[in-house]
Symmetry: none
DNA sequence: AGTTGTAGTGGATAGTTGTGGATAAGTATG
DNA sequence: CATACTTATCCACAACTATCCACTACAACT
């Protein structure tokens, strides 16, 4: 179902345990990639397939499209869950999101986000305090 | 699956190790050819078939199309993976892409691109900073 | 409380991967 | 034909990764 917030750790070998509640959704494989606000995103294979198809369909003759696909696809990595439900975070992704030992996993329905715990707390504080304002703005967009 | 970014080296005998995650997709043979932005592209035999078909189908009346097809088709070379999963980069392709020792391999779903590492870093920086703009423009194209 | 089970963390070992070099086989050139 | 030169096959090493097992903490249930 992919909801909830979990505190986990990345060990010295860059392994991260996926919350057990998320495992049946992911199966044995998943795709991890860069997200906005320098967090990481984990997709199910199915969900990633949809994203990849869109990127493959981009016109190869346009430089913009080529570059966009390059960044999006090369930034991703397919990972396997080991017997205990852990994944290996590639070095370049760990660096991108500036992950230290403590990370927070967020279940967001069709994807999972990984944040450095400190950064998430900070971000959450800022966001929650302005959640009313944001709701106002979203209403204007018809949500 | 062909996604992700890998740092490898070309040795003094122009051998390049294919990332092990890519090997099962390629099998024992692959096609390597020129790409845009002076990188190289590796296709599976199957995928190359599709690309070649597209190129052959280009309107023969247009000089641009003809030239593009010429460059792509004549530049191609089929390579075999040795027992350790390495391919031999032909000299003219190595020169075309100005490859030195350190190269970066990009998994782009249906193909693999090979860049000189320095050039890719530079290119990526420029692209990433404008990825938001690109996304906006692509949205206008209905993606 | 005691027991059982599960989840998260940490570490040891065996296997794989990437790289470099050595030797053998093929190709051209004088 | 001999020589230099390139290309293929094979092996060796170091670094990394996967797999396996152990330990602790917590929860649920009896």
């Amino acid at each position: 179902m992919l909801i909830g917030e979990y505190q986990h750790t990345i060990d010295t070998k860059r392994r991260l345990a996926i919350p057990s509640k998320f495992r049946k959704d992911l199966g044995e494989q998943a795709v991890i990639t860069k997200g906005l606000e320098s967090c990481l995103v984990i997709y199910t294979l199915e969900e990633w397939g949809k994203q990849a198809q869109k990127l493959e369909a981009l016109p190869n003759s346009q430089a913009d499209a080529r570059n966009y696909a390059r960044v999006m696809l090369s930034g991703a990595s397919d990972v396997e869950l080991d017997k205990l439900g852990r994944v290996l975070i590639p070095d370049y992704l760990k660096n991108y999101a500036v992950l230290k030992k403590n990370v927070t996993l967020l279940g967001l329905s069709n994807k999972i986000e990984i944040w450095d715990s400190e950064k998430w707390e900070e971000h959450k504080k800022r966001t929650e305090s302005s959640v009313g304002d944001i709701a106002e703005r979203l209403k204007e967009l018809g949500i």
